[in-house]
């Protein structure tokens, strides 16, 4: 393995005749520095795979993925979010469509009023048959203007699906979804005839619940991650790339990642530009996009971690 020395800007040695040609990586500026015998010559980096961009949803935008769950009983969805919207109904993620037949039961996450908690729907395909419950935990605590990590785990290994919501790596609530706990029915998560998942809204034309704020590092797992998994991913707020952390999501939107994510003109993703493609880095090729120009989220240089 080839390596070169690395220094912070402050710890970098003086460039002198004795170290002419010394080549280092400056960990402060992320540039290559070469000693010319009297000073440092700087070679700036042109791109990075660091997490430098997230998506901004303006209250009208939505990101349409091409990922739909297969027939699974256990499932995990997670994302980072930053919002100050505590007054509107919002839907950060859903596979619901109300175009044509009304389907909301595969998996939809909502805040249905300004003061409610999570309203989670799963386990059915029509409105009347879906499993849902309001007020599972306080959604507004996520909308304080700071970045927060949200993970919702559906563990169907028991008699009933256990729904666990994690905020910033810690368990906020965990309960079995059965009728005695106030859920609509006892159906488990099953992805029969699913729709593709959407972030930032649940529907284009009917009863929209658009999200206003930023989202980053959205991921789906067709399994129930453990509390330790979620804590490791949150990493004390330092986050981390899921693949680098050793996880294997079934769909993974890093957002603004070098080599794959693009602006609306096809160039490499950069801040201030609307999306063309937000790539799925799970290896399953479930890329995301938005066909309607006015609904396109925008890349923004604001991330929960870098």
């Amino acid at each position: 393995m080839s390596t070169i020395q690395a220094y912070t800007d402050a710890a970098r040695p003086a460039a002198t005749a004795s170290n002419l040609g010394l080549t280092i990586f400056n960990t402060t500026t992320k540039d290559i520095n070469v000693s010319d015998g009297t000073g440092w010559r700087v070679y700036e980096d042109d791109a990075t795979t660091a997490n430098t961009l997230s998506l901004d949803f303006d209250g009208s935008d939505r990101l349409d993925t091409t990922y739909s769950m297969t027939s699974v009983q256990s499932f995990t969805v997670m994302w980072w979010m930053k919002s100050t919207d505590t007054s509107n109904y919002i839907c950060p993620v859903a596979d619901q469509t109300r175009s044509g037949s009304f389907k909301e039961g595969n998996l939809t996450v909502l805040r249905t009023s300004s003061s409610s908690g999570f309203y989670i729907i799963f386990g059915g395909e029509s409105g009347g048959a879906s499993n849902s419950k309001n007020g599972v935990t306080n959604f507004n605590s996520l909308c304080d203007g700071d970045w927060h990590h949200v993970a919702i785990v559906f563990d169907s290994s028991g008699t009933y699906t256990n729904v666990s919501i994690y905020k910033d790596g810690s368990l906020a609530v965990s309960q079995d979804a059965n009728q005695t706990n106030g859920w609509a029915n006892n159906n488990k998560v099953v992805g029969t005839s699913p729709d593709n998942f959407t972030f930032g809204d649940r529907d284009v034309s009917v009863s929209r619940k658009p999200y206003t704020g930023k989202m980053d590092q959205m991921a789906f797992f067709e399994s129930a991650l453990t509390g330790t998994n979620i804590s490791d991913i949150y990493n004390s707020g330092n986050g981390g790339d899921l693949l680098a952390l050793g996880f294997s999501p079934d769909a993974y939107y890093r957002v603004g990642y070098y080599s794959g994510d693009t602006n609306s003109d096809g160039s490499v993703a950069s801040a201030g530009n609307n999306i063309l493609t937000v790539a799925d880095y799970s290896g399953n090729n479930n890329d995301a996009s938005q066909a309607t120009a006015s609904y396109k989220p925008t890349y923004v240089a604001d991330t929960p971690w870098s």
């Binding site: 080839s2 390596t3 070169i4 992320k30 660091a50 070098y258």
Partner: protein, 69 residues
């Protein structure tokens, strides 16, 4: 008559000591899919065989230096 230069070996040794070759070469996609473990105080550098760019991994992300030629 061949005369061994008195300072030649030293110069050669110095050149050999300071020579630097990037041993790790691969395509960009293969490079970016790896997460090398860096020795303390060092970073990994690789060369892209399809892009001719340089790639440095700082322990959390890759930094890309484009080939400008």
């Amino acid at each position: 008559m061949f005369v061994l230069p008195t300072v030649g070996l030293g110069v050669i040794a110095t050149l050999l000591d300071s020579s630097f070759t990037i041993e790790d070469t691969d395509t960009e996609s293969n490079i970016l899919s790896t997460t090398p473990t860096n020795p303390s105080g060092e970073v990994t550098i690789k060369f892209g065989t399809d892009t001719y760019d340089l790639y440095i991994y700082d322990g959390s992300a890759w930094y890309i230096f484009n080939n400008d030629s």
